[in-house]
């Protein structure tokens, strides 16, 4: 099996879907000949033409809205925001038009919204956000967040095939840092199904995206304790059974994410555990997240805000000793 970076795996996924189905096309700013701000679409315009890899004007509402219209008319658009932060400029089309379309009219909207997200590289307050939780208050949208090259490709295939609008959170910090084996050809990673990144019996860390790797590193050798790491993979709809199965097994849970704390994905996971697995717990559910502040620019400030390996290690130690 070839080894690809996380970024190459996304590109491979896009290429496979476009080869497989000619109704699949990409739209976004600078994605054509330039290959995108991060080069995720590099080579696609050469293979599929500028029509199917459309360099749009700087117009987020039009990008999302055009994707909605093309989707209901039988195309399978994959739209890119250059940074997930900019989805705020196209928010209305997503939450009011795309999300509610099927409930109101029985009309499916099979589109993928690629959202390069996350910090760790001094991107500052407008190029580092993790806005995934915004969309959980707009029923009708699905949200995925792959953490490995294998899942990056497989979740892209599933997102494209799904008849709903799927927000694909791709973590920028993983783009070129992470390599892994990725199968040739098309395959799908099922939506709403967690992945156990490491088995363990004493404590569960629940994470997604880049924080899965922070969790693995923090708990690799934690005084010999058996720490399970659960990768959510899909943030909406959550795999509630997959989450609860691990909680029932270990009875202690740390929920970790890079996004800000209040009403984040972690809050939802904690509430789920409190409602459904209270009797199985052997300690309080703990959250490790960014605090409720914008992501600052300067490296020491950014490090102070984004969850670090030591923080996760400390939280796990404390909970293990509870």
């Amino acid at each position: 099996m070839p080894e690809l970076t996380y970024l190459e795996a996304i590109t491979d996924g896009l290429r496979e879907e476009m080869r497989h189905d000619e109704s699949v096309f990409c739209l976004g700013q600078d994605i054509g000949n330039f290959g995108g701000a991060f080069k995720v679409t590099e080579g696609l315009a050469a293979e599929f033409g500028r029509d199917r890899v459309w360099d749009t004007p700087l117009a987020e509402s039009a990008i999302v809205g055009a994707a909605v219209g093309a989707a209901v008319e039988g195309m399978r658009p994959i739209a890119e925001m250059q940074f997930s932060d900019f989805i705020a400029c196209g928010f209305d089309q997503l939450v009011n038009v795309a999300a509610k379309m099927h409930y109101r009219q029985g009309l499916a909207v099979p589109m993928v919204m690629r959202l390069p997200s996350g910090g760790g590289f001094s991107g500052g307050p407008f190029h580092s956000q993790n806005p995934e939780a915004w969309f959980l208050q707009a029923p009708g949208l699905k949200v995925v967040a792959p953490s490995t090259p294998e899942d990056a490709k497989g979740l892209m295939a599933s997102a494209v095939r799904d008849p709903n609008p799927v927000l694909y959170m791709e973590h920028k910090h993983l783009y070129r840092r992470l390599r892994g084996e990725v199968a040739d050809g098309r395959y799908e990673t099922p939506l709403s199904q967690v992945r156990v990144a490491r088995e363990g019996s004493e404590l569960t860390v629940i994470a997604y995206g880049a924080m899965v790797h922070t969790a693995l590193e923090a708990t690799e050798d934690l005084d010999g304790a058996g720490i399970e790491v659960v990768d959510l993979r899909t943030l909406c709809p959550l795999d509630t059974e997959g989450i609860l199965a691990s909680v029932r097994k270990t009875s202690k849970v740390v929920v970790l994410h890079e996004a800000t704390r209040s009403c984040g994905i972690g809050a939802e996971v904690c509430a789920l555990i409190a409602e459904e697995a209270f009797e199985d717990l052997d300690g309080p559910v703990v959250r490790v997240t960014a605090p409720d502040v914008p992501i600052p620019f300067s490296p020491p400030l950014e490090r102070a805000v984004l969850p670090q390996v030591d923080q996760v290690r400390d939280a796990c130690r404390e909970l293990l000793g509870y």
Partner: protein
């Protein structure tokens, strides 16, 4: 630029080139659809006053010629994103008055089966994508429909309607610009009904929106929105242009909203003389008078429409309210979308699909 209160449409008399392509039966159909729209909305207002329509009631009184004239140009495989003042376009595409009334009453059998209310609907089975309250959100969506046609090299058109207020919103600019850049097969119908809720034109824009079309690189046409044949002619020309790769058209139809924004709005902000000016130019009365002068019989249409409404109202009132147990169903789709074809009553399309266009 004239002030809005003193702005009756100053329009050139139109030659009726395309109207000449309308058969006698087509012209009777234009009148019939306008009558059907008004009768359906009057019935809906009556049901609202009886307390059978929850929320408020919104209609397109006085704007019948805009929706009927424009939608009449569409072929079966064209697609439409219709505004809440344009019931006539829904009726032309094939939505029955009964389904409209059931929709307004929040019943099963309404186009959204109670999921959405009033004029917020579009029947996907008839090639329509329903509007949302945010305006003009359907303009970018219609660009996407047109984009699909263009990418597949299909001779089809997307048509979308919006009001004067919508031209002040950023999404309007984004849609116009994208449509111009890609030369999309799209027809934008701007219904200038003089007021965005209570706000007159002079507070919405400093430049007449039709003039902006040129700056986006495509044709802008102003028509008398109370002349159904003039609207039809402009729309038919725009559709023909779009079908052969000629790009978008912005049609600005000058008209007047003769009811409040909703049934709760008494229009106290409209000067009486402006209202009277437009009342004297009622689109149905003027068109019927024109047909009468040409010797066409129209009285039977009134009778037929009245009978239709009786039957359709009875049907709508027999529709049940939705089962509360179903409220959480259908958030996510399990099947791919299917937009069906709409009715296309213009004689040009009889027995033809859009592939022949």
């Amino acid at each position: 630029m004239a002030t809005p209160t003193a702005r009756p449409a100053q329009l050139e008399p139109r030659e009726r080139d395309t109207a000449a392509q309308l058969t006698v039966e087509d012209r009777r159909e234009l009148l019939r659809y306008m009558l059907l729209m008004r009768a359906t909305e009057e019935r809906a207002l009556g049901l609202y006053r009886q307390g059978k329509v929850p929320g408020s009631h919104y209609d397109g009184r006085g704007q019948e010629a805009v929706s009927v004239g424009s939608a009449f140009a569409l072929s079966p495989r064209d697609r439409a994103c219709i505004l809440h003042r344009d019931l006539g376009a829904h009726l032309i595409r094939g939505v029955t008055p009964g389904r409209v009334l059931a929709q307004m009453m929040g019943r099963v059998g309404g186009v959204t089966n109670g999921r959405d209310g009033n004029m917020h609907f579009g029947d996907p089975g008839l090639g329509c994508v329903g509007m949302v309250s945010m305006l003009p959100d359907m303009a970018p969506v219609a660009c996407g429909l047109a984009l699909a046609f263009q990418m597949r090299r299909e001779p089809r058109v997307a048509m979308t309607w919006f009001g004067d207020g919508s031209t002040a919103n950023g999404q309007w600019h984004e849609a116009m610009n994208v449509a111009g850049v890609r030369r999309l097969p799209i027809v934008f119908i701007l219904e200038n009904n003089q007021y965005a809720y209570s706000t007159p034109n002079e507070l919405e824009f400093a430049v007449d929106p039709v003039e902006r079309a040129a700056t986006y690189g495509f044709a802008g046409v102003k028509v008398d929105g109370n002349d159904v044949e003039a609207v039809f002619q402009a729309a038919a020309e725009a559709c023909d242009r779009a079908r052969v790769g000629g790009g978008p058209t912005l049609i600005q139809a000058e008209t007047m909203r003769m009811h409040g924004h909703g049934a709760h709005d008494d229009m106290s902000y409209v000067p009486p003389e402006l209202f009277e000016h437009w009342a004297a130019r009622d689109p149905i009365e003027t068109f019927e008078k024109r047909l009468g002068e040409e010797g066409l019989e129209t009285e039977s249409l009134h009778k037929a429409v009245a009978e239709t409404l009786e039957r359709e109202t009875e049907w709508a009132l027999a529709c049940p309210m939705p089962d509360p147990a179903t409220a959480a169903e259908g958030v996510f789709a399990t099947e791919d979308p299917v937009l069906g074809d709409g009715h296309a009553p213009w004689s040009r399309w009889s027995g033809r699909a859009a592939t022949d266009a």
